[in-house]
Symmetry: C2
Subunit: 282 residues, 2 copies
């Protein structure tokens, strides 16, 4: 029997002593000059970044659109296969933000879990609980449901007050924890740009893992995110960084620079977390 997602995630955290997630979002115009025009530039770039960041990383998160827009989905497939080979104990998240109903949602689950063999996929909750069920069916695979996204426009719908005056994103967190998480494989996406909201989500969903983008390029605050988001055991987060690591250097030393940046971020997370755990804040 396959290990349950929740156990795999916990083991990825503790075995690496890291809550860092490296976003693999290659963009043609941002690749080091030496890689441009070469065959399979995305895969070559990713492989070097993976090799350099692996010691500091609990999870990897390739973003689907970057490969699709460049006509390089084959290199997404090769990246996932390479990760499986060199990082079998890390969590591989396909960031695709899927969402559809019935048999179509089943097809998207097949895309993520069979075509790309991801451990987890990001999914949009707007279509409701029955649209999430096909993604959540296998306890060995995880689903990160968008809750409060890092962009300014997230306020448009996610902050609207519903029912007793609480915002929509909190309703999503509550339903996720109380109704949708029947296989203990559901997590939430909450942007580091909103540490106050992360605190409210953590309160509403004490046991759900949170995938947190928005550190670095988007200006999210690491210390505030950790203080608000750690779970009772002092884990519970995957802190994603993409651009801040991938493009730490624009030169031929991009991989070493990504490795250094990953080490720094991982160690900063460890320091902050250890202080918070000692304070009993977690």
């Amino acid at each position: 029997m396959k290990t349950k997602f929740k156990e795999r995630l916990h083991s990825a955290w503790t075995s690496t002593d890291s809550m860092l997630c490296v976003g693999l979002d290659p963009t043609e115009g941002k690749l080091p000059v030496g890689l441009r025009g070469k065959p399979d530039p995305f895969f070559t770039f990713n492989k070097a970044v993976i090799d350099a960041t692996l010691p500091w990383t609990a999870a990897y998160k390739p973003q689907f659109a970057h490969y699709a827009a460049a006509g390089r989905l084959d290199e997404l497939g090769r990246t996932m296969a390479y990760l499986r080979e060199v990082a079998p104990d890390r969590i591989l998240i396909l960031d695709a933000k899927r969402g559809d109903i019935g048999s179509t949602a089943e097809k998207y689950a097949l895309e993520a879990f069979r075509i790309y063999d991801a451990d987890a996929v990001t999914v949009n909750p707007y279509l409701g609980g029955d649209s999430l069920e096909p993604f959540l069916r296998d306890p060995a695979r995880g689903v990160f449901v968008l809750c409060k996204t890092s962009n300014p426009g997230s306020a448009d719908l996610q902050d609207l007050e519903v029912r007793g005056g609480s915002p929509l994103f909190l309703e999503v967190a509550r339903r996720a924890a109380a109704e949708w998480n029947t296989n203990a494989n559901l997590g939430l996406v909450a942007g580091a740009t909103w540490p106050g909201e992360i605190g409210r989500i953590r309160e509403a969903a004490p046991e759900l893992p949170l995938l947190v983008p928005g550190i670095g390029a988007q200006g999210g605050d690491l210390a505030a995110t950790l203080a608000a988001g750690l779970d009772r055991e002092g884990w519970g987060l995957l802190i994603n960084s993409s651009r801040g690591l991938l493009y730490a250097s624009a030169g031929s030393d991009f991989a070493e620079a990504a490795g250094r940046a990953a080490k720094e971020l991982c160690e900063a997370i460890r320091r902050e977390t250890s202080t918070l755990r000692a304070e009993g804040g977690a």
Copy 2:
């Protein structure tokens, strides 16, 4: 200068005298036995269905997940190219339900409009107005924003009361009409399973085209949908049917059967619409 999306859509309606949209959602296990195991079965199937349904059809809507889950995205590309060739005046909608922020939303727009050369794409509004902007930037391309989806679980979030007691889906319709539609290329998705809600959406967004799935297999009511959803000019809808046409016959006459089913549905739409227009209901 390229024709604006709104004009292209209106011209597709009037030149075909049809508001039918044919969903191209091939599934391995449902293909006619004669096509299974053959090379490019999805493209071969689609080509025959397109040829047979073209006289009755204003739009085609391939659903991305069906191709992705089968590892047949190349056949999605070939289908789009074939449609461009034989149906240059019809509206080609990539049903992908994308939704992401900033530069990633730009990548998804490139996927839809450059890689697949779609006229329009379906998009999820949960991430807010700034997440929709990259899709809406080109007035020649359209965007159908999910508003009230056809599934039972659409009630979970979309029916939640916000602000002065109106449901979330209506807030989406209002914002779409008042704020997001600055390039006159935005439409909404509203399921035929909820004709009452279609009426409220039409009231809130009198000029937006509505893409309506849920007729046929999902049990949506055609007459009620048309009565609720026609715009002031007696157009305004794309009524989608997928399974009801694609699998009208499981035998080698699948294309003829799809053509007959498309003709019947198109003529039923014409009849109902013409009655409603005569009554001045539209």
